[in-house]
């Protein structure tokens, strides 16, 4: 039997006002996939962090730009791709310092990245600055 794959897409203006809508989209898709409420909360947070980074950093809060969230659902996992055409960045440049060090340096950058990496099973970037950047994330579905 052919594996079943379902695809969903949300395209919204690049505004933090749309983060609630993005979380709703991810939550509904994850629920359809069969994730439990705790896993759904993790997915919503990871994708929110990815999209907030795009809106604020890749697009510099330019609301004429658009953020695209693609979700691909198969029997074993949910894959989420967040796409933008803004300034890409080198994920390796993000500090992975401890909380205490970040506080004393008055820095809060990199927290979103740390959350994403903890919450998802896979996270990786494809960067083509000004053309297309994509953040690919995957979470496995733990079957009961």
């Amino acid at each position: 039997m052919e594996p079943i794959e379902r695809k969903f897409m949300l395209q919204v203006p690049s505004s933090t006002a749309n983060l609630a809508l993005i979380r709703e989209f991810v939550g509904s898709t994850a629920q359809q996939a069969g994730f439990d409420s705790s896993e759904i909360a993790k997915l919503e947070l990871a994708v929110d962090e990815a999209c907030a980074n795009v809106i604020e950093h890749a697009y510099g809060n330019d609301t004429t730009k658009e953020v695209i969230v693609r979700a691909t659902l198969d029997e074993d996992s949910l894959k989420i791709d967040v796409e933008d055409t803004g300034h890409g960045f080198d994920p390796k440049s993000v500090d992975q310092e401890e909380l205490e060090q970040l506080i004393s340096k008055r820095k809060t950058g990199g927290l979103g990245m740390r959350l994403m990496k903890t919450l998802m099973d896979e996270v990786h970037y494809e960067i083509e600055p000004g053309k297309k950047n994509a953040l690919h994330m995957m979470k496995k579905l733990n079957k009961k």
Binding site: A20, L45, E49, L99, S104, G112
Partner: protein, 122 residues
């Protein structure tokens, strides 16, 4: 999908209680930040953030707790976090907030916690 968020401040007694309701994300965190700044500007440094009605928090909201903690502690005060449900506690735990901040079940216990030494060494 509207983000129903509100922040209220109650500055009675020796404490300022900031009550968060709804989702604290990159869109709403600036309102939370403004509330904390207003409390500090008014000379208050014993701050309790009541999260009992908070449904969600992302790193933008967590960054607000981080941005003020040193300043408040330098003045002899603290920021206590109370009322966190299991649902919203996870990002605090992932980033290690428990080693630096006091988590209290409710506002009453948070007030008592101010009599104890401040958590973490900054």
């Amino acid at each position: 999908m509207p983000n129903l968020f509100s922040v209220e401040t109650d500055s009675a007694d020796d404490f300022a209680v900031i009550r968060l309701e709804g989702a604290v994300d990159a869109h709403t965190a600036p309102q939370f930040e403004e509330a904390v700044q207003n409390v500090i500007d008014a000379g208050q440094n014993k701050i309790i953030v009541d999260c009992a009605k908070m449904s969600y928090i992302s790193s933008a909201g967590l960054g607000v707790f981080m941005g003020f903690i040193e300043e408040v502690r330098d003045e002899g005060g603290d920021i206590k976090i109370c009322g966190l449900s299991d649902k919203v506690k996870q990002p605090f735990e992932i980033l290690g907030f428990e080693s630096l901040y006091d988590f209290c079940p409710d506002v009453g216990s948070a007030k008592k916690q101010f009599d104890e030494p401040v958590k973490g060494e900054m």
